[in-house]
């Protein structure tokens, strides 16, 4: 599936849901946005993706 993740075009094989992408990228702590909408963790397994979807995987990091 062709996805745009954090602004970068990616081809990910064998992903159907947002949960699949999270596991493939190993980002269990992410805040995930699909086409600009925050998807709660509880919905990840139910969120089916399609070609061309834009994902933002964001985290809380150190800051002043």
């Amino acid at each position: 599936m062709h996805l745009i993740i954090n602004g970068r075009s990616q081809e990910l094989a064998a992903v159907r849901t947002l949960q699949d992408v999270i596991e493939t990228c190993k980002v269990a702590n992410a805040i995930a946005l699909l086409n600009d909408q925050v998807i709660p963790v509880s919905q990840w397994a139910n969120t089916f993706l399609k070609d061309g979807d834009a994902l933002e995987l964001v985290a809380i990091v150190g800051g002043g």
């Binding site: 925050v38 933002e56 964001v58 809380i60 150190g62 002043g64």
Partner: protein, 267 residues
């Protein structure tokens, strides 16, 4: 500032017994951060939001911040009110505490905040139920606009972010302390505990430090020193410091000296 007769700091619906706030950026290790939080006893820390670097695994910083500490997400990275608003909404949608430090910066040389955009973002986010702590250059009109917009505090900079230059804006912070009813949290450029104490002696309600602690050789020791300095400065402010005098004023009476009118020696 005027909401406190005692040592409890009230911001929005929370109370703090420690007026030292800590930023979590730039620490060499997350263990250093955890140690600094513990050593200082800070009750509120700032964090930022960034895209995850998918090529590198990073520890989750939240694992190093104890549960009872108030998390304040900042809008660093925002170059406009719109971007700050989007970041704040993202944090809220993700389930984080709706306490937001608005930081709108459009210049990488000085990292000075855009006061006008900060006011706009404050107006919108307060309406959406956020507890907003805006980071600004100290300016009386800007501070009044923030009060009007419903900000929970005002965070004027002491000097440039990360510069350790200290309280360069001292006189302008004093104006805000005297004229603005909201808590005044001095944020940015505080490079040493003596500078934090100075801010608190002036009447500031709290001080936020990041770079100085993170960059110290011994972050937890410096974090402790900062917390001590902030407490000392606050006590000094509450104690009513005596005024500066142009001339000397003796500590003991100028009479009754032992060597006046000595007993004559026997011949």
């Amino acid at each position: 500032m005027k909401n406190n007769d005692n040592n409890l700091l009230r911001i929005a619906d929370r109370e703090f017994t420690n007026r030292f706030f800590l930023g979590t950026g730039k620490f060499r290790s997350k263990k250093d951060l955890a140690a600094a939080i513990e050593a200082s006893g800070t009750q509120i820390v700032t964090v930022a939001l960034r895209r995850i670097d998918l090529d590198q695994h990073e520890d989750n910083i939240l694992e190093y911040i104890p549960k009872g500490v108030t998390l304040m997400v900042n809008t660093s990275g925002a170059r406009s009110a719109d971007e700050a608003i989007r970041l704040a909404r993202l944090a809220k949608a993700a389930g984080y505490n709706p306490w937001i430090k608005i930081e709108v910066i459009n210049d990488s040389k000085y990292l000075l905040p855009d006061n006008a955009e900060t006011i706009k973002a404050t107006e919108v986010l307060v309406q959406e139920g956020f507890v907003v702590l805006p980071y600004v250059s100290p300016d009386l009109y800007v501070a009044r606009a923030l009060v009007k917009a419903g900000a929970a505090a005002v965070m004027p900079l002491g000097s440039l972010i990360g510069s350790n230059q200290g309280l360069k804006t001292r006189e302008f912070i004093k104006i805000l302390i005297d004229e603005i009813e909201l808590p005044i949290v001095v944020d940015a450029g505080i490079g040493a505990p003596s500078q934090a104490a100075e801010a608190m002696e002036l009447g500031a309600d709290a001080v936020l430090v990041n770079t100085a602690v993170a960059a110290a050789q011994n972050p937890s020791l410096l974090a402790k020193a900062f917390a001590q300095a902030v407490a000392a400065g606050r006590n000094a402010f509450l104690s009513g410091l005596p005024s500066v005098r142009p001339l000397a004023s003796a500590s003991s009476p100028l009479t009754g000296f032992l060597f006046d009118n000595p007993v004559p020696k026997e011949r």
